[in-house]
C-alpha cells in the first residue's frame, strides 16, 4: 500500500517537470494558437545557455539561470518578431513547417557548437538529497523543488494574466484577434512579448531538466510530445489545466512503470487518449475556440 503511495508521489512530482515543460507551450498556444515544434529544442538551447554561463563565469546553475532568463527573453522576442510573426496566419501548416525547420537548425547548431556529448548541470549534494517521510517513504528535494517551481510559475503567470493590463491584452488577443486589433492592440508586439515570457519559463524548465538528467543537443523532441499532451489535456488557455495535465501524464507514466517498466511511456499516451476522447477540448478550456 505504502509502495503505491510512493508511486503516486513520484508521479505527481514527475508531473511538475512535465508541467514546467508544458507551461511555455501553453502560453504560446493559448495566445497565438502556435504549435511550436521547436519548443523542446528551445528548452535544450536554454540548458546549454545555463551550462555555458555556469562554466565561463563559475556560477552555480541557479545563478546562471537567473542570468540566462533575460537573455532568453530577448531571444524569444527576437525570434517571434523576425520569424514567427510572419509565419502565423489562418493555416496550420506554415508555422508547423517553420518551427520544424527551426527545431532542426537548433539541434544541429548545438551539435556543431557543443558536440553530441552528454552534459549535466551540477549542483552538488542537493541533487540527490531527499526528505524522509517515514515508513520507507522519501521525496527527492529536487523533484519537490521542480513541482514547487511549476506551481510558482503558474501562479505568477496567472497573476500576470488576470491582474495586469498586459494580461488583459493577452486574453483579449487570444479571444478575438480581429477585435483586439480594433481596440488598438498591436498583436505582433503582444506575440513577441508572449514568446519572450515563454522562453523565460523554458529556461526554468531547462534548469530542472539539466539537473535531473543528462542532456545533449538531440533530446528536445522526445520531451515535446509530453508537453503537448499536458497542454491539450489541460485545455486551451488554462495554466492550472496545463499543470493538471502534466500531473496526469506524470502519474500515468509512473503507475504504468510500476506495473511493468516497459509500459511507462505507453501508459502516459493511453491516459492522454482516454482524456481526449472523453473531453476533446481538454479538462478546463478557458475560452471558446
Amino acid at each position: 500500500m505504502l509502495e503505491w503511495l510512493g508511486t503516486i508521489i513520484q508521479g505527481v512530482l514527475l508531473g511538475g517537470l512535465y508541467a514546467l515543460f508544458a507551461a511555455g507551450l501553453s502560453l504560446i498556444f493559448g495566445i497565438m494558437r502556435l504549435v511550436n515544434l521547436a519548443h523542446g529544442d528551445l528548452i535544450v538551447l536554454a540548458a546549454f545557455a545555463i551550462l555555458s554561463l555556469a562554466t565561463w563565469l563559475g556560477f552555480d546553475p541557479f545563478l546562471a539561470t537567473l542570468l540566462a532568463m533575460p537573455a532568453m527573453f530577448a531571444a524569444g522576442f527576437a525570434l517571434q518578431h523576425v520569424l514567427l510573426n510572419r509565419a502565423l496566419g489562418r493555416d496550420l501548416l506554415p508555422p508547423l513547417l517553420v518551427t520544424f525547420g527551426l527545431s532542426i537548425i537548433i539541434q544541429n547548431g548545438l551539435l556543431e557548437a557543443f558536440t553530441a556529448d552528454s552534459r549535466r548541470l551540477r549542483l552538488g549534494a542537493i541533487e540527490t538529497a531527499s526528505i524522509e517521510l517515514g515508513g520507507n517513504l522519501a521525496i527527492g528535494v529536487m523533484p519537490l523543488l521542480t513541482l514547487g517551481s511549476a506551481i510558482a510559475v503558474v501562479l505568477l503567470l496567472n497573476l500576470l494574466f488576470y491582474r495586469t493590463a498586459l494580461g488583459r491584452a493577452f486574453r483579449a488577443t487570444s479571444d478575438d484577434l480581429e477585435i483586439a486589433q480594433l481596440m488598438g492592440i498591436d498583436h505582433h508586439r503582444i506575440y513577441s512579448i508572449a514568446m519572450g515570457i515563454a522562453m523565460v519559463v523554458a529556461t526554468i524548465a531547462a534548469l530542472y531538466l539539466g539537473i535531473r538528467a543528462n542532456f545533449d543537443p538531440t533530446i528536445g523532441p522526445a520531451r515535446l510530445i509530453y508537453a503537448f499532451e499536458a497542454v491539450i489535456i489541460g485545455g486551451l488557455g488554462s495554466l492550472w489545466g496545463t499543470l493538471a495535465g502534466g500531473v496526469i501524464i506524470g502519474l500515468a507514466q509512473t503507475v504504468g512503470a510500476k506495473l511493468n517498466p516497459e509500459w511507462q511511456i505507453l501508459a502516459g499516451h493511453i491516459a492522454f487518449l482516454v482524456v481526449v476522447v472523453l473531453r476533446p477540448r481538454g479538462l478546463f478550456p478557458r475560452a471558446e475556440d
Binding site: A165, R168, A169, R171, A172, S174, D175, D176, E178, I179, A180, Q181, L182, M183, G184, I185, D186, H187, G237, R286, A287, E288
Partner: protein, 235 residues
C-alpha cells in the same frame, strides 16, 4: 463651415474578387452625428471596416483631420481616435464587463470625459454586473458594454455598426437614450443602422447606401419617406 473631421473620397472596397463599395463620398463635421442606412449588402459594414482599417483602402480615400489614413492598420486607427462598436457586439468572452471596458483604453490611454466611473454613470446597469463574465450578459447589456468599451478610448469619432440588431425595442430605446450624452461630449458619430426611425431621430445628417453607392444624402427633416424608400430599395 468647419473643416470635416472625417471624410471619404471615392472610397472603394473589395473582398477578393467581389467589390462592395464603388466610390463613396462622405463628410462628417466635428461633433456631427451621421446615420448610414441601407439594405443588407448595401455596403454599410464594409464602409465602416474600410475606415477602421479592417479592410485595406487607398491612403487618400479616407482622411482624418485632413490627413490620409486609408492604408493604416486597425490598431493605428484606434490610436488616432477613431473607435468602433462592432456589429454583433464582439465582446471578449473570457473577460468580465469591467475588463472589457478597461481594454478599451489599452490601445489609447488619454485623459478625457470617459472613464470607468462616467461610463457606469451612462449605463448604470453595467455597474451592477461589472464582475460578470461577458458571455453571461443579456443582449442589451452586451451592447452597452461594447459601446462603453469603445468610449473608454475617448475617441474623436465613434462608429456604431448596427447596435440595434437583435435587441427588443425597449432595449434599443434605452441605449439610444444615452446618445445625447455622447453627443454632448463632442464626439462625432457615424451610426450604421437598420432601424431607420431611430437613426433619423438622433442623426444630424443621413446617407443612404444602395449596392455600394451613395443613393441619397441630406438632413432627416428634409427627406420624405418616398425619397428614402426609393434610395433604400432602388425602386
Amino acid at each position: 463651415m468647419r473643416p470635416p473631421i472625417l471624410e471619404t473620397r471615392g472610397l472603394t472596397a473589395h473582398y477578393g474578387d467581389f467589390q462592395a463599395l464603388y466610390g463613396i463620398d462622405t463628410v462628417i463635421a466635428p461633433g456631427e452625428t451621421i446615420a448610414i442606412i441601407g439594405a443588407n449588402g448595401a455596403g454599410k459594414s464594409s464602409y465602416l471596416k474600410a475606415i477602421t482599417g479592417l479592410i485595406r483602402a487607398k491612403p487618400d480615400s479616407v482622411r482624418f483631420e485632413d490627413k490620409p489614413i486609408g492604408a493604416l492598420g486597425a490598431a493605428n486607427i484606434l490610436k488616432l481616435g477613431i473607435a468602433m462598436v462592432p456589429e454583433g457586439r464582439r465582446l471578449f468572452s473570457s473577460l468580465t464587463v469591467e475588463e472589457n471596458l478597461l481594454i478599451g483604453s489599452y490601445g489609447r490611454d488619454v485623459v478625457g470625459i470617459w472613464s470607468l466611473d462616467s461610463i457606469y454613470g451612462l449605463f448604470p446597469a453595467l455597474k451592477e454586473r461589472r464582475a460578470a463574465p461577458s458571455h453571461t450578459l443579456s443582449g442589451g447589456e452586451q451592447q452597452m458594454t461594447a459601446i462603453g468599451r469603445a468610449l473608454m478610448s475617448n475617441p474623436r469619432v465613434l462608429l456604431c455598426d448596427e447596435i440595434s440588431l437583435g435587441l427588443a425595442p425597449i432595449v434599443i430605446r434605452n441605449i439610444y437614450d444615452a446618445m445625447p450624452r455622447i453627443k454632448q461630449s463632442g464626439t462625432s458619430m457615424i451610426l450604421v443602422e437598420q432601424d431607420i426611425a431611430q437613426a433619423m431621430k438622433v442623426a444630424d445628417r443621413v446617407y443612404c447606401f444602395q449596392e455600394g453607392r451613395v443613393s441619397l444624402s441630406g438632413r432627416p427633416k428634409e427627406l420624405t419617406r418616398e425619397q428614402v424608400h426609393l434610395a433604400y430599395f432602388g425602386h
